[in-house]
Amino acid sequence: MKMIEERDKEEFDIFTHRLVPRHRIISEEEKRELLTKYNAKLADLPRILITDPVVRKLGAKPGDVIEITRSSPTAGETKYYRVVIVE
């Protein structure tokens, strides 16, 4: 069982899966802009666990904001932001 898991981790890049949208850690500069734009605190953003496979892969730290670019049938492309938190 364990062997299979480890093999998967090594070989499979989740970002190549068609259901996984594009993820990107945004810079401090962009983060500030985002928070000013929405007049929000970091804690007001939607969250994502640091244990999330995508976050692990990106190697994001707690407090980082991840930009997710999803495709949308009505808007074409839409951006979503989530802040990384620890469990």
Partner: protein, 869 residues
């Protein structure tokens, strides 16, 4: 401003256990007597109604604070329990403490180093939920520890016998034992088991004192007969006190242990049911009449508890409820209000220089409709207007007074039908006062409410301030809700007769006599009418198209309607089926009008008018077109006959042949399947594949039959067919069911297979897979079903009735949970969706920031949307 009003801000509220000291400190009296009143009917001192706990008699003042009923909040008392009892709601906490602490030294069953480790973890936890989770982990770890790491005592297993008896091994622990052990637990260990020592001690969960709530919390009701009736809580408390007294007496008299134990257990029972009367394994405490007592937990919990009944739900005045009935001759945004109701409901109007004469007329008219019922003076005195008082009131009436006049034509009211599932379940209408005793509503406005007239009742509310009236009119009126926020198609439109009327009117050869047309146009509110455009036999006629054009605003529209046969090359305006609708500048040029243009949740023409010309034009159009449709239908006449379903002999022959072929094909399929020559579809078993193919074949047969029926009943004058073609009611498939063949009966998406062993009925052989044996009905309703077919039909009928009646409450509860979870999400001005803490849920509403009410969705997408729900 804010500084002046708001001196202190509440940061939070924390609920704690009451300590015995606290119970004593907040009490003003020790209750010692189970007597409520003495022989003279006055409350006894030291009884449950002790006047020092606050008075509930308006004539008496509180003996503690001197306040009357209105300003004395009541004061607690307490009783001393002869023996301690366990608080049921804290049984889980006690259980955890007993399992996880040493029986001898009271320390937690964990070494000091580990204690520090876990304590750090708990203190670091950022949320209460998280803390609870960690505590759960600790308890899981400790509950089976055999030996105390501090004093090396061997631990016995603690068992909990619900609801509140603890055993250590086989020995029962009395509440006294339990309390002793909890007392031994040091403060520093409490936090590891989820109890902050600054907040409470575990032994407080075993009660030695019981606080007695003041009578204002459990008031006595005096019945008309003068008899006093006590509150459920008072009954329960007096049970507790009486029992406590007996226990004391027996203890002092040195009674045998068995008796003491029995009384103790009984006291435990009474205290338990006092807190919560729905504890499992415990008989419910009942009133003398057999009604279960409503004790503390029942006051708070559930549908009748304070949260759902009094805090989340409110009752209102200025409302009315009665049966609804249809009235096609009132406006779509009107509601017919019975005179009796209009005379009872009032609208407050502030008197000013401009309306004072009108207001005086209302007062002058006292006791006749319409009049003023009350007048409120500027110093807030309310005066009833009667024939006797009107002269006086008329004299003093001046600007600044408020006159409460009866409901009148044109007033804005809110109209509602439960279940209120979406925002258009409450719409603002204008009042139209009518005789008789039911609310009248235009049939076009029933769809948003999902109302019909088989006895439905609806509620009506009268807004009481200018702001409320303005909001109702601007935000909630019928005109604002022509389009549904679901996908932007009209929710208000023409149904049934209206659709059929318009369909028949716009047939190419329809002519309307001049005088008839004038009547119709008059009802539509059109007073300058066009010249008649057709002359025939020296008489002047209006063509149906011209008449229909009268209802149209200046709109352009071009599309195919329901009659479209999807020819390879569209002939556009020259379509022989009238399927190409073309409207130029408000004139109907070609095609006939059907459900696709004007019906609710279809109505593309209405959508076009709203988008191009606005809500008002669309509202006027629906109003006019519905009047036109129904009046023309009245003039034209339409009724259905059994003979609508008559077929010529050759058609019957053809249908029989088609059905025979279909059934035979299934038989051949069975053969192939039995031989094992069938190839399974991907992801399906062989059997599933066979069933699927058989179903497909039989459905195809059935559709073919419907086509044959249509081919032979193609006289356009058959009303059943007209209804189906216009989309007013019924379908071709329904017609075919009556005329020729009902077709396959499906049970949960499959052919019928249940019943006896390997067969549906004993009339078939085991394993018979043929069409007839699995619920295929070859006859039509008119010819009649065979008994076996009838049986299959009944199976499916019963199943669908059961299904709907079982599904409704489930989906209702699901809806309730969803609404509760989502109710305070809102779209902010920056288009982000936020919750009540202003946290972001979506960065742009719906990913695109668009209001679906004004989406323009093409037909295909709509069908897809509908199919998915």
């Amino acid at each position: 401003m804010e500084q002046e009003i708001c001196r202190e801000k509440i940061a939070g509220i924390e609920f704690r256990m009451l300590s015995p000291e606290m119970i004593k400190k907040m009490a003003v009296v020790k209750i010692t007597s189970s007597e409520l009143y003495d022989a003279d009917g006055y409350p006894t001192e030291g009884g449950l109604m002790d006047p020092r706990m606050g008075s509930i008699d308006p004539a008496l003042r509180c003996r503690t604070c001197g306040g009357s009923i209105n300003d004395c909040p009541g004061h607690f008392g307490y009783i001393e329990l002869a023996y301690p009892v366990i608080h049921v709601e804290y049984v889980p906490l006690i259980y955890n403490f007993l399992r996880c602490t040493c029986r001898k030294c009271g320390r937690i069953l964990m070494s000091d180093e580990e204690c520090e480790k876990w304590k750090a973890k708990i203190l670091k936890a950022e949320s209460k939920i998280r803390r609870k989770y960690i505590v759960g982990q600790i308890i899981n770890k400790l509950k089976n520890v055999k030996k105390c790491p501090h004093c090396h005592t061997i631990q016995e297993k603690i068992k909990l016998e619900k609801p509140s008896t603890f055993y250590e091994g086989n020995k029962q622990l009395t509440p006294i034992d339990v309390r002793e052990r909890l007392e031994k637990v040091p403060d520093q260990d409490c936090i590891l088991l989820g109890l902050d020592p600054n907040v409470g001690r575990p032994e407080w969960a075993v009660l030695t004192l019981l606080p007695i709530p003041p009578p204002s919390m459990r008031p006595t009701i005096t019945l008309e007969t003068g008899q006093r009736s006590e509150d459920d809580l008072t009954h329960k408390l007096s049970d507790i006190i009486r029992n406590n007294e007996r226990l004391y007496e027996n203890l002092n008299a040195g009674a045998p242990e068995v008796i003491i134990e029995d009384l103790w257990e009984l006291l435990q029972y009474h205290v338990t049911t006092y807190f919560n009367n729905t504890i499992a394994q415990i008989p419910v405490a009942r009133h003398r009449s057999g009604r279960p007592l409503k004790t503390l937990a029942q006051r708070i919990r559930g549908k009748d508890g304070i949260f759902r009944k009094h805090l989340a739900g409110k009752r209102v005045n200025f409302c009315a409820r009665t049966v609804i009935s249809p009235d096609p001759f009132i406006g779509i945004d009107e509601v017919g209000v019975p005179l009796e109701i209009a005379m009872e409901l009032t609208v407050p109007e502030r008197v000013n220089e401009l309306n004072i004469e009108q207001m005086k007329k209302y007062i002058e008219n006292a006791e006749n409709y319409p009049c003023a019922l009350y007048v409120v003076t500027p110093d807030n005195k309310r005066k009833r207007v009667t024939k006797e008082t009107k002269e006086l009131i008329l004299k003093e009436l001046a600007p600044g007074y408020i006159v409460e006049r009866q409901l009148q034509d044109g007033d804005i009211v809110l109209f509602n039908r439960q279940p209120s599932l979406h925002k258009i379940s409450i719409i603002a209408h204008r009042v139209k006062v009518l005789p008789y005793r039911s609310f009248r509503i235009n049939v076009c406005a029933t769809i948003p409410y999902n109302a019909d007239f088989d006895g439905d009742e609806m509620n009506l509310h009268v807004p009481q301030t200018e702001e409320a009236r303005a909001e109702a009119e601007i935000l909630m009126s019928v005109r604002q809700h022509i389009l549904t926020p679901r996908y932007g198609l009209p929710i208000i439109g023409c149904i049934q007769d209206y659709v059929l009327g318009c369909y028949l009117l716009t047939q190419p050869d329809t002519l309307v006599e001049e005088d008839e047309a004038q009547k119709i146009l008059y009802f539509m509110g059109i007073y300058d009418m066009p010249e008649p455009d057709v002359k025939k036999d020296g008489k002047r006629y209006y063509s149906g198209k011209l008449l229909f054009s009268c209802s149209l605003p200046k709109v352009n529209y071009e599309d195919k309607n329901l009659s479209c046969r999807k020819c390879e090359k569209c002939k556009l305006e020259k379509c022989e089926y009238g399927a190409y609708v073309k409207i130029r500048n408000g004139k109907l040029i070609s095609g006939c009008i059907d459900a696709k243009l004007i019906a609710p949740e279809k109505g593309f023409l209405i959508q076009k008018i709203v988008n191009d010309l606005g809500m008002k034009e669309a509202y006027d159009f629906i109003q006019k077109v519905s009047m036109l449709g129904i009046l023309f239908l009245q003039y034209h006449g339409s009724s259905i006959y059994i003979s609508d379903t008559d077929l010529p002999p050759e058609a019957i022959k053809e249908i029989k042949e088609e059905i025979r072929r279909g059934v035979e094909k299934v038989d051949r399929l069975i053969e192939i399947y039995r031989k094992g020559e069938l190839e399974a579809y991907p992801g399906k078993t062989l059997e599933e594949t066979f069933e699927l193919m058989a179903m497909m074949e039989l459905n195809r047969t059935r559709n073919k039959v419907a086509q044959i029926v249509e081919k032979y009943i193609s006289s356009p004058n058959i009303p059943t067919l007209q209804m189906a073609r216009s989309g007013a009611r019924g379908s071709l498939s329904n017609l075919a069911s009556m005329a020729a063949c009902v077709g396959q009966q499906n049970l949960r998406g499959l052919r019928i297979r249940r019943g006896y062993k390997e067969r549906t009925l004993p009339h078939f052989e085991r394993g018979d897979l043929s069409a007839a044996a699995r619920g295929f009905i070859t006859h039509g309703y008119k010819a009649g079903l065979t008994p076996i077919e009838f049986f299959f039909h009944s199976i499916v009928g019963r199943d669908s009735v059961m299904d709907t009646s079982l599904r409704t409450p489930r989906s209702g509860y699901l809806q309730r949970r969803l609404v509760n979870a989502l109710q305070d999400l809102k779209v902010s001005y920056d288009l982000s969706v936020r919750d009540s803490e202003n946290k972001i849920v979506q960065f742009i509403y719906g990913e695109d920031g668009l209001d679906p009410t004004f989406h323009k969705i093409v037909e295909g997408v709509i069908n897809e949307l509908r199919a998915s729900t």
